[in-house]
Structure formats: C-alpha cells, structure tokens
C-alpha cells in the first residue's frame, strides 16, 4: 500500500522542522529564524505499522500567495491533496498563528492542529485550553513539545485516524460579513458546476473574489495538464542544496 502523505504547514519559526526531524528521525539543521526552510523537505516514518510520507512545507504567515513560499505551500495542499495536513502553531503566539490554521481549514478538512512549543508557553505563564480550541475549530487539536518529544504519540494517533478515514472532521467555517457571504453563495454553485468536487468550492470562490491571479494561473495549468507530471523540488538528506 502506498504510504499516507502528511503535509506540515505553519507559520515560520514554529518548530515545523524540529517536529519533522522528531517524526522522521532525519537530522535536518534547524534554525531560530523565520524563513529557514525555503524548499519543502520529505521524509518517511512508521506509526503502528502504517507508513507515512511527510512533507515539510515552507513556513508562511498566510496562504494568500504573497510570495513564492506561500504559493508552494498553497499549491501543495490544494493540488497534491495530502491525506492529512498538520498545522503547527506556536503556543506562545496563538492569536497570530490561528489565522493560518483557519485558512488551511478552508482548503481541506483533513487537518490536525498541533500546538507546539507548549514547554515555552508554560514557562511564560500561558495556559492553553486545547479542548476549547478543538471545539471552536472542529478538528483534532494536540499540544506537543517537539523539542522534548512530548505529545508526539497522541499527535500521530490523530493523524492516523484522519488518514485512514476512521475520523472525518467537520471544520467550523469562518463566517465572513454578509456582503461576502452573499457573493460566495452566488459563486459556489457555478464553481461546483465547472470544477466538480475536485477543489473546495467555498475556498475557490473566496480566491476568485479576491482575484488571486497566481492561484488562477496555477489552476489553469493544473486543469490543462491533467495527469500530474509536476516538477517538485526537494532536498535530499545528507547533501544540502549548496556546495
């Protein structure tokens, strides 16, 4: 059986690469600055006899195609459609981080939210009610510390449940103002008619209303090429992209 694919998304410097290393056992150099991972890295791991292939996406603040990085992350989630997307959030600045989680939830429901850096949050006196966040988002939320390797097993259990389809989350959508909601309602049926269920209609509607040129051209390329023969850039381990 082909391994399940798991994508790691999240804001820059939330410890995605550290989590990636912890899970895959690979040893990629991590740094403490925003933007350290510029190309997506891949690795594999096994959890309870199930194989997973993990992709470490570049860290982004949004998925509104402001930069090449954001396009890479967005295209992966929309076109490659990983079995599970883990959104890594920094427990010490949840408010800003949640924006990205909400955006990812508009693109796919197969999401596990992973709140990382819990140890640091505890030190700073921040208490996070993960159950409450789970209720608010409608997808599993797991608190971990990738560095101290706590919470990893719970995270993987949730990932496995969603990958196998034994748990189908129902994300709570962000409700926009009436004006935008009305426009979405008008556009959504047209999108379903044209594109079918291949892409999340509500999200495509939002992107079209936002006139996201970069998404439109990606979409166009995707619709024309049909069988995907997309070139992917990846880093092989043990050898960096440089010298």
């Amino acid at each position: 059986m082909r391994p399940y694919t798991v994508a790691l998304a999240g804001n820059p410097n939330t410890g995605k690469s550290t989590l990636f290393n912890t899970l895959t056992g690979l040893r990629q150099h991590t740094g403490n600055w925003a933007g350290k991972t510029v190309v997506s890295a891949e690795g594999e791991f096994i959890h309870e006899d199930t194989a997973f292939r993990m992709i470490d996406l570049p860290g982004t603040y949004s998925l509104y195609s402001n930069s090449a990085d954001e396009e890479v992350a967005r295209d992966y989630i929309i076109f490659e459609q990983p079995d599970v997307t883990i959104v890594v959030l920094d427990a010490t600045s949840l408010e800003r981080n949640l924006n990205l989680a909400l955006q990812v939830l508009e693109m796919t429901s197969r999401v596990v939210v992973c709140i990382n850096l819990m140890d640091e949050a505890k030190k700073l006196g921040i208490r996070v009610d993960t159950d409450q966040i789970e209720r608010q988002l409608g997808v599993p939320v797991v608190a971990v510390s990738a560095r101290n390797k706590t919470g990893i097993d719970t995270l993987l259990d949730k990932v496995a449940e969603i990958a196998s389809g034994s748990h189908v989350p129902k994300p709570v959508p962000v409700i926009y103002n009436d004006d935008i909601e009305k426009k979405i309602a008008q556009l959504e049926p047209l999108i379903r008619q044209t594109l079918g269920d291949r892409f999340p209609a509500r999200w495509v509607a939002l992107r079209l209303l936002d006139e996201d040129e970069s998404l439109i051209s990606s979409l166009r390329a995707k619709l024309h090429e049909q069988p995907a023969t997309e070139q992917k850039e990846e880093i092989r381990y043990g050898r960096t992209a440089c010298h």
Partner: protein, 468 residues
Amino acid sequence: MDAPLATNTADPLDSLLGAARTISHGAPIRDELVSDIYSRSRQICKLAVQYEDKKKLQSTYKLDKILTSKIWGYPIMFAILGVVFWITITGANVPSGWIADFFGVIEGYLTAGFQAVHAPAWLHGVLVLGFFRGTAWVISVMLPPMAIFFPVFALLENFGYLPRVAFNMDRLFKKSGGHGKQALTMSMGFGCNAAAILSTRIIESPRERMLAILTNNFVPCNGRWPTLILLSSLFMAAGVGAGLHSLATAGVVMGMVLFGIIVTLTVSWVLSKTALRGVPTHYTLELPPYRRPQIWKTILLSSRDKSLNVLTRAVVVAAPAGVITWILGNIFIGGDSILAHMAGFFEPFGHMIGLDGYIIMAFLLGLPANEIVLPILLMGYMSSGAMVDADGLDNIKDIFLQHGWTWLTALNMMLFSLLHYPCGTTLFNIYKETKSVKWTVLSAVIPLGIAIAVTFIVAQTARWLGWV
C-alpha cells in the same frame, strides 16, 4: 468589467473569473477577508488562552533592548563577529599544521612506495604530486577553520541572533533601496552563496529579491574564508608580535567582511537607482524568542551537514583539478610548460591589477568552486620550477615570496577573492531562481567589474605612492 455569467467559451476558468468579477463589482475584498479571519482568531483565543502574568511575556525580550539598541547594537554585532573570527583563526592554526604534517609523512611513504615498484615518474607526478597533494592541501587548509566556524555560526543562529542582525541592519538596507531581509540572506552567504540564493525566496518583492541575489557574493562564503584567513595571517599580520598575531589576523579578515558589506550596500543602492528602480516594500520581521541551542546536537549536525559536505565537494573538485594542473605544468612546449605559457599570457593583465598571471589563471580554473583557487595557485607555482617541499604554513609563504609576492599581491588577491564572480554552483542556482540568462550573466559581470576596478585602483595607488 462586464462578462456574461455563463458561456460556452473554451476556458471554463475564464467564465468563472468573469462571473466572480461581475458578482464582486470589482471591489477588492482582501482587507475584509483578513479582518474577519483575524477577529475569529481573536475570538478563539479569548475563549481558550489565559495569561497568568503579562509581564512575564516581555521578559524574553529584555535582551533585545541591548542587542538591538541604537547605541550597542552595532558594537555588539562587530564584537561577536570578531570573536567568531578570532576563535576560528586561533583554533584552526594548530590542527592545520598537524594535518599538513600528517599528509607530508604519508606523501613520503607514497613516494617511497612508487620508487620501490619502479613506477614511472609521470605516474608518480600525476597521482602523488597532483592528485594526492592537491587533495591534501584542500583538507589541511580548509577543514580546521570550517570545523570551528560552522558550528559557532549555527549556535548563534539557533540562539536567535540572526534576526537581530537583520533588525539592526534593516535601516541600512532600506536606505540603499533593498529589503531588510536582505541582511538575513546576506548572513546565509557567509556559509554558502549557493544556498543563500535559495534563501532569497523569503523576500516577497521580485525587485528586492533580485537585489539580494545580485549582491550576495560580496560576503565571503566558506570557499573563500580559507583564502582570506591564510593570506591575512601570512602577509597582513606578519609584523605583529606572536601574542597579537591572531588578533591582528581576525582584524584584517573583519575589515574584509566590512568592506564586502559596504560594497553590498553600495551596489544595492546604485542598482535600485538605475536598473532596479522602486520603493522598498514594508514587511514584518519576526524577532523570535531567544532559545538555548541544543549545543551538542547543533555542533554535530552542522559539522555533518556543512563541513563534511563542503569538504567532499572541495575534494571532488580539487582532485581532478590537481591532476590537470600537474599535467599542464609538466607538458613542455618550446622550453616552457603549458601552464607557464598560460600564466605568461595573463601576466600583463594580472600585473595591472596587482596580481600575476598564475593568480588570474587560478581564479579562472577555480570557477567551479572557490575552494580550489588557492590549491591550484600553489600547485601552479610549485610546478613552475621552484620545487619547495611545502608541508607547513611557513613554506607556503616562501613559495609566494619566491614568486615576487608583496603585501600588495596578498591584499589584492583577498580583495579579488571577496569581490569577483560567484562560483559555478551559485551561478547555476541564480539561473534556476531567476530563469533569466541576462540576470545570471549580470550577477557574474557586475562583481567581476567591481573586483577589477577595486584591485586596479589599489594597485595603481600603492605603486604611485611608492609603497611597493
């Protein structure tokens, strides 16, 4: 713009887009989207996050008051940089000597072995004097400084200091028309320009990203550190007493780095006033909390990922280069070796910019990797008659002196190394990232032009003033 809601046009996407435009009446909705998403985040956080003590949150940023302060920011930055260089230079000196001695002994055995089986002289020449010696050079000169510099740099990076450097230098880059994050990509260039070119992806605006790409090679990468360190140690700090020697060397290397940064800013400024005109964009630079690096893990990882890789690459390129240099130096046409003919050809130009024909040739042959410029130069010199048994750092200086080197030659070689075109791998990455032959060529030609101009001015001035 008006478009029919649904038509049977060839591209269904166009009709969808048309429909979207009709529905939205051309009013941009990005701001509303973002503000709704933000208020939802805030709402969730209000329900789920509690702060015991707001003051505690600020404590991690206390250090920033000093490290990014207007008064102390720069002095601390230079002090840290200086200490890193000093540790690298002092620490690398002794093991470099050991490794060179070790290879010298091995070479002796190899030579004895070749003589014992009566191997032909050319075979010994190609394999031992070319292949083995070239490789040994690279390892003994490059391994120790890299094994110290990379882990120290990685520790600083994991601690969270790099974004503070970017924060400090932001104003300078803004003034020169670039992007504040250019300071980050520049810092990556200290490790490897080719990797730094990839890291420019964090800069959103294409114009500012191009500035960062075009100026990246003005900071020395790991392939050029050994050249800078070795030459400043042998020539620039020569008159200084033993105790202060490594301090003086670190000072000279630091001066080179500062000069490189000044050139980076100047070129950015000129380009942003000419070919890449535009207003700097706004951006958020995140200052992450300081985190205590996992010291051993960082050291081991950076040694494996960086030092070993760079060394492997250097050896892979240096070994054949050693063979080629030996062959060129030992095939004689009309009394002189091919190498000498080639060096002779470049000699007038080399002299004009304070270098010589061999140095120019070493830089040309060193295009694939900056690491091999110095080994090629030494092999070139050694094959051209003056057969010195170069197994110590002092002997290297003798070789240079025999070929008429002065402090000016050393200085200009350092300047040329700092400023000249990036290595082949970097150029290839620039092409991959920009998809433009024009910009790739420019990213080699601009630095080369600057390198020639600067060394020319320095050489002519020094000679005119009668300093050499």
